[in-house]
């Protein structure tokens, strides 16, 4: 009962979902990836300042840690674009990220290591010098690119500098860091160690429920509200954890909101396509009813006919949309807050796209059939299309 002409429209709708939903689904994880990546992240708690050289060296000395990377995060601007400048111990950081050298040197006490995507974005190469401004205090500094590295993480879009430069840019004290990232063989032991060490920290990581040690949980009150009310000095000590939570929630709300709106738009598109395709089959419904087909049989028949179309169109459209999304994003080099918009194959999202398309298609088919069943079979069978009489503006205006 559904003509094959509906297939192209359904595939186009699935294409739109395939090109947008995987990107939108990946966006909420970006803030957490910037701070933690796929390692355990220890950030400052609400109590005494704890993310410092002492904690980092004690963690490094423990036999259950594989890699310990203390880090300072700086939000900066280069050539008018937002960039993340990260103060690191290059050896620990590159080991933790599994990064490889592209050019230049990866060592030295004073360094500027550019991620490959970062270097490409700004046309920088080893030996070039870039102007960087302060992160949380007004500063002007020049960073000489001593090497370029490649990483499969967000670090590929970042600039790594030595701690001395990072402290100059952020105004952070000489013994403090923003976070310590850890790869460990025993997360439980790490938590017990932090407890014994009297550290006031928040800990998060893969497969771990975010844990607060000697610290209150991150406050619900929005950081922006606090800063607007009391100034920068009113921000809580654990502002990084609070900001991370807020950023994740905000991005999630926006991304999922846009995804739902696109879903509704695609729903309109599917219904319009199927309505056009079903219009040619209205007489067939009348004939089938005249020869004794029940409403239930017609409904089942229509759903059975629509299902393969919807599934096939969903699979083809979602796959082609996904690849078009990759090409489009790479071609346009879309950057959001200093990082390339991530897109990777996600089975759950892909399955959801097909399910949503099939669901909308089935619901639309039922609605269309219900409208057709309202008419008497003889009306449907007539040569002349039984359409609603047009209502001209002239007729409306004349009453």
């Amino acid at each position: 009962m559904i003509r094959p002409r509906a297939f192209a429209g359904l595939a186009l709708c699935a294409f739109l979902l395939g090109a947008t939903w995987p990107v939108l689904a990946a966006l909420p994880s970006v803030p957490a990836r910037v701070v933690a990546g796929d390692a355990f992240a220890i950030t400052q708690g609400s109590g005494a300042l704890s993310i410092n050289v002492s904690l980092a060296s004690n963690l490094s000395a423990s036999n259950w840690t594989v890699t310990v990377s203390p880090e300072i995060l700086g939000l900066s601007v280069l050539e008018g674009d937002s960039v993340v400048v990260r103060g690191v111990d290059h050896d620990a950081f590159l080991r933790l990220e599994g990064a490889s050298r592209v050019s230049g040197s990866m060592g030295g006490s004073q360094f500027g290591l550019a991620g490959e995507a970062f270097a490409t974005r700004f046309g920088l190469a080893t030996g070039d010098t870039a102007t960087i401004v302060g992160a949380f205090v007004p500063r002007i500094a020049f960073v000489r690119i001593t090497g370029v590295f490649r990483a499969e993480s967000v670090a590929n879009d970042e600039l790594l500098v030595d701690f001395s430069m990072a402290r100059f840019l952020t105004g952070l004290g000489p013994a403090n860091y923003h976070s310590i990232r850890v790869r460990t063989t025993d997360p439980g032991e790490m938590l017990r160690f932090l407890d014994r060490f009297q550290s006031s920290v928040h800990v998060s990581g893969p497969g771990m429920v975010p844990t607060d040690i000697h610290s209150d949980p991150p406050k619900d009150e929005r950081l922006a509200n606090v800063i607007l009310r009391t100034g920068v000095g009113g921000a809580p000590r654990d502002y990084l954890a609070t900001a991370l939570g807020e950023a994740t929630t905000s991005v999630r709300v926006v991304a999922y909101g846009i995804a739902i709106l696109i879903g509704v738009l695609v729903g309109f598109g599917v219904h319009a396509t199927q309505a056009r395709a079903f219009a040619d089959r209205a007489p067939a419904v009348g004939v089938l009813r005249a020869v004794g087909a029940s409403n239930g049989w017609l409904r089942r028949r229509l759903l059975l006919e629509s299902l393969p179309f919807a599934v096939l169109a969903g699979l083809l459209g979602a796959a082609s949309g996904f690849f078009a999304g990759i090409v489009l994003l790479r071609g346009l080099d879309l950057i959001v807050f200093g990082h390339q918009v991530p897109i990777s194959f996600d089975l759950v999202t892909s399955a959801l796209i097909v399910l949503v398309l099939v669901g909308i298609s089935m619901a639309s088919a039922v609605v269309l059939l219900r409208e057709a069943l309202r008419r008497r079979p003889t009306e449907s069978i007539r040569e002349a299309p039984a359409t609603e009489p047009p209502q001209s503006l002239e007729a409306i205006l004349r009453g």
């Binding site: 739109l16 601007v77 050539e79 674009d81 401004v133 205090v137 002007i140 695609v266 040569e383």
Partner: protein, 365 residues
Amino acid sequence: MARPILRLATRFTRRTRMTAWAIAFACMVLVGALALADGLANGVGSVADRIGSGPAAYIRGRELLASEIDANVLSGIPGDFLALRAHPGVLEINATSIPVMVVAVVTYHAGNGTDPYPSGARDVSLDAGLREEIEEQIEAPLADVVALDLFGLRLTNLPVVPPPPTRSPLFPDDWAWVRADLLAAMDPVHGGAVQAIVTDLPLDASTVQRLGLTRLDTLGAVGFLRAGVAEIQVPLRLLALLIGLVIALLVYAAMSLEVHARSREIAALRSIGASPTTIAAVYETQAVLLTLAGAILGAALGILLSHAVVAFAPLFGLPNLVILSLPIDAIGLTLAVALLAAVFAGLVPSRRAAVLVRTKEALPT
């Protein structure tokens, strides 16, 4: 001829009215999203200005090191400021080559420039951090003279003098300081030009415009937020492409159904002398009018939606950082995308309507 076409094109059925509402919804999403993004950019800018982003640096272009401001115009700039010249060079000291930033800072007060330090024409002042770095590298006391490679030239036997007595907190302590005259003598074009003007108070807009300057936020978090919000607007504009496709699909389906449902009427029009062009014009015009009505309604709803979001945001604890203005650009973009989609999507159904009678599909039995 235009009037009958318009009359026939403005006959809206329940289905076409529903299509107009669907188009309105799509346009509402686009206008609302773009208006909110613009409003957020305005809000962030306003808050950043209130918080204050530290001393202002003005450059030409996007990168400080590539910026070149004519030094002759500096005396005409009112107020106090620093003229910063900065170039990457290589210092050779104790037989070791070290890449350094070579800078010269001239202080301007009421149009008069003074070059306070170093005092000697060929002096090179190594700042404290740079001294530590060099000593760590060469593991010996610093020599009294250095060689400097800059602009492809090499100057030798330059006397080393102590670090500058004062330095703006804006600048790090790992620069090599020289006099501005030395740079100008080495390369009158690149060495003579100033890379940045640093002031405590912003320059007036007319000076900035006259000299073709752009402001460099020295507080990165503020600039990061400003640039980040601007970056978000790019993918949102891509949303217009997607919405254009959906509108095209909706218009195509609606107009196809119209042509399908009115096939007998089209045959009647043809039989009383309407040309295929006239028939096509009726359905093309209907597609455009339908979309225009939907887009205008959607734009209005989008503005309402954005104001509603801003009004209700504080109820959910969200900071009211959005300062809305009339989203002229967003409305223009939406109307352009919608109309373009309608024109293209209406072509096939209207052409089908024009040739329908020839295929005898529409002839009464």
